[in-house]
């Protein structure tokens, strides 16, 4: 097990390098640089001043040198400085980590609870009107793009019903900071959560259906156990084993979704920062966030594998 863990942790190194090279390459392939993004389209800047700025931002260096320079700093634990805000990228990520983690945790929790609940109902009442309703709504949530769903929820719950604020992370001068935050969290959290719930419902449903047909469930029922007990106590734990990996591998989808949701709801997290950085060709920030997220994904995959082994004694890693 320890050898396995060590091997997996070492695997992170080539993954991180690969991801950073790709991220850098995509940045380089998009036309224009940070300086082009900084100058408004109708402003003229003299050649000498352009040169001054290009060298100040290090943009006068060839791309491979810039990458190596960046990598050298990363190895010393320094993610570099943003080209547009001059702040340390590490600090920028730390500042945005809280809001993004909150949003993702809420969405993950919501989607897990709702996904399992609806999946179970769907499987137990297979081919009932409830099953069809849940199946149709699952496909609906799966097919509607996040930004559209976000705007729809804003108009229904913030504009018409006025239950929750339409955007942001906090209100100026709010009396109870945590209640205020929860209020702001609801819409983006639900938007992001429902997207993931739909997929999970389908997984839980099919996994449980498979289990419900198994011999031991028939045995449990033959022993005289009620439907509820046989499903929840004997069926569900076994059906959830494959679902663990689905939940564990949600992180990339969660982050991808939060990029869109954070922009729509003006949530001050990493996704919002990443979009702004990509728009302004701020490559140290894009690289920093990409690297951070890829390491997080690798770690979460590892944790999923461990959880898998814990949940299912048949699985052993070597």
């Amino acid at each position: 097990m320890y050898a396995f863990l060590l091997r997996r942790l070492l695997m992170m190194i080539p993954v991180a390098i690969g991801v950073s090279v790709l991220a850098f390459l995509f940045q380089e392939l998009s036309p224009g640089d940070a300086l082009d993004a900084m100058i408004p389209p109708d402003v003229a800047v003299a050649d000498a001043d352009l040169e001054y700025w290009r060298s100040r931002l290090g943009l006068d260096q060839p791309a491979p040198i810039r990458y190596l320079h960046w990598m050298g700093r990363v190895l010393q634990g320094d993610l570099g400085y943003s080209l547009t805000s001059h702040q340390s990228v590490g600090r920028m990520i730390l500042n945005r980590l809280g809001p993004t983690a909150l949003l993702m945790a809420f969405a993950l929790l919501l989607s897990t609870v709702l996904g399992i609940a609806t999946g179970v109902v769907s499987a137990v009442r297979q081919y009932s009107w409830l099953d069809y309703l849940l199946t149709v709504s699952a496909f609906f949530w799966l097919s509607v793009p996040g930004f559209f769903m976000g705007m729809l929820l804003i108009y229904i719950f913030a504009v018409w019903l006025a239950w929750v604020p339409p955007f942001g992370y906090s209100s100026p001068g709010a009396a109870n900071v945590w209640l205020d935050r929860l209020h702001h969290l609801l819409l983006p959290g639900i938007s992001l959560g429902l997207e993931l719930t739909a997929a999970l419902t389908r997984y839980v449903r099919s996994s449980l259906l498979e289990v419900l047909g198994a011999d031991y469930i028939r045995t449990a029922r033959a022993k005289g156990l009620s439907d509820v007990v046989s499903v929840l106590k004997h069926g569900l734990p076994n059906a959830l084993i494959p679902v663990i990996s689905v939940i564990g591998l949600r992180l990339p989808a969660l982050f991808g979704g939060s990029v869109v949701i954070e922009t729509v709801f003006q949530w001050p997290g990493m996704g919002n920062m990443l979009v702004n950085a990509a728009r302004s060709r701020d490559y140290p920030v894009v690289m920093g966030v990409t690297l951070f997220v890829s390491v997080m994904v690798v770690i979460s995959t590892l944790l999923t594998d461990i959880a898998y082994a814990v949940a299912d004694p048949r699985i052993r890693y070597h």
Partner: protein, 530 residues
Amino acid sequence: MSTRKLVSLGLLLVVATTLVFPAAPAAASTAGQKILNLAGFASYKDFCGLTSTTTPVTDRLIASTLYSVTRDGNTWVPDLAESYEVEGNVWRFHLRKNVLWHDGTPFTAEDVVFTFNLFAHPLAALRGHVVSYIAGYDEVASGQAQELSGVRALDDYTVEIETKAPMATFLSEQLHIPIYPKHRLAHIPVDQICNDPFWTESFVGTGPFMWTRYLEDQRIELTANPHYFRGKPKLDGIVIHLFANAETALAAYAAGTVDIVEVDVTNLDFLNSLANTNITFYRTLTVRSLAVNSSYPEFADPRVRQAMAYAINREPLVRSLFRDTVRPAYTMFPQEWAQPADLNTYPYDPQKARQLLAEAGWRDSQVYELVYYYPDQMTANAMVAIQQMLAQVGIRVNPVFIDPPTLRARINDNSLPMFYGALGVPTDPDAAYTTITCGMFPPGGNNSTRYCNEEVDRLMELGRVTTDQQARVGIYQEVSRILNEELHWVYLWEPLQVVAIRSNVVGAENAVGPSFLRFYGGYENIDIVN
């Protein structure tokens, strides 16, 4: 399993109970204070980070300039200076004596001298308006001098600014220089000034509102300046909420979280359906045009550009698509005094367009990219309409959306056949100098279509140094005639910006205006009434 069920149930309960709590109240009524909530569309940037959309807005609210201007760019308004006089190329400004910085320090001529010198540094260059026209700038730029010899404090309340040559547009140029506090900035080494927390944590100005708090990607909170030299503002504060997209800002307005929002004309019906909303418009002072690249051999002949102008039927576009929120334009200059009455209006005439193309030897073979970078739906619709109109006369274009850095990169490597763009010419036609003269090809200049006419160059130079306004009218009307004939760009229209203002906000109509212009908006008079 039952524990898990309990947890899930508990969580659902928490979610359900929070849903029935009332939403956080709109800031306008927070604790009985009058707080105006505005929508801003970019992250706040510092002095070096340059002209984002929001910077001039915060500059207008927090900082002041020597002279300001009304939002139509027509009337000069004394700001930090009470009056001025000009002798040749020397401008003498008499400063107000009752001005305090937000930290209580008196404002003096030394602050003006300091700020102009700060702007002489290349760090300020991305704002696009360095003080290169001031006497002594070349010496500072080349390192021979430390300070601009042309900016002098005669006493605490008199500043003299000497330009290299007589200059008609000095007032327009100084609009780009908000005066910053010497006592807060002078001790910082210039090359570290960008990173200084002054810009984001302790910004100090002389304007009607004081910097209070900046939450990145969220909002900027400002408090009324009780010592403002025009009198204490009626509002207690202003919050500028920062948005990444216009749709969320509009929703925030509809939900009552922001009080003023600028919107795309496609949302006009929605705005009309909202209660307690006043809709107002302002001139953007930019002429949106098809910038056709003169350096492409197929577009070099002015007749090709004239054919495009005749082929575009503006009337239905203006009426149906833009719903009369644009003013047709026939020259680069929005200033009426620079537009002679005899400009060709290029009435829709596809027959004439085809004839001009035939004369110019146009071959209908290639599909050209028609690049645009405004993200609104209106622009996308207009591009499709223009595509169809041009196709009817045999010019095939394909609309392509790109972002501003891509646009700039492609202008620099001269790979754009044409784009839909605009130039802000807010106070004086001279602002077009870097866009229409021969010496201003990219990347150092802004003449993105590589248009060159020596007569235009001569007139634009003459206009700069001519101080007699009557003579300037003649000069710029002549430039208008040439541009209208040769169509350096195919001029289309000047958009009016649609603005929604909540009806209990009074006195804000003149406070909304072109985002790139530091105009005087009378912010101290804005009030929220019940």
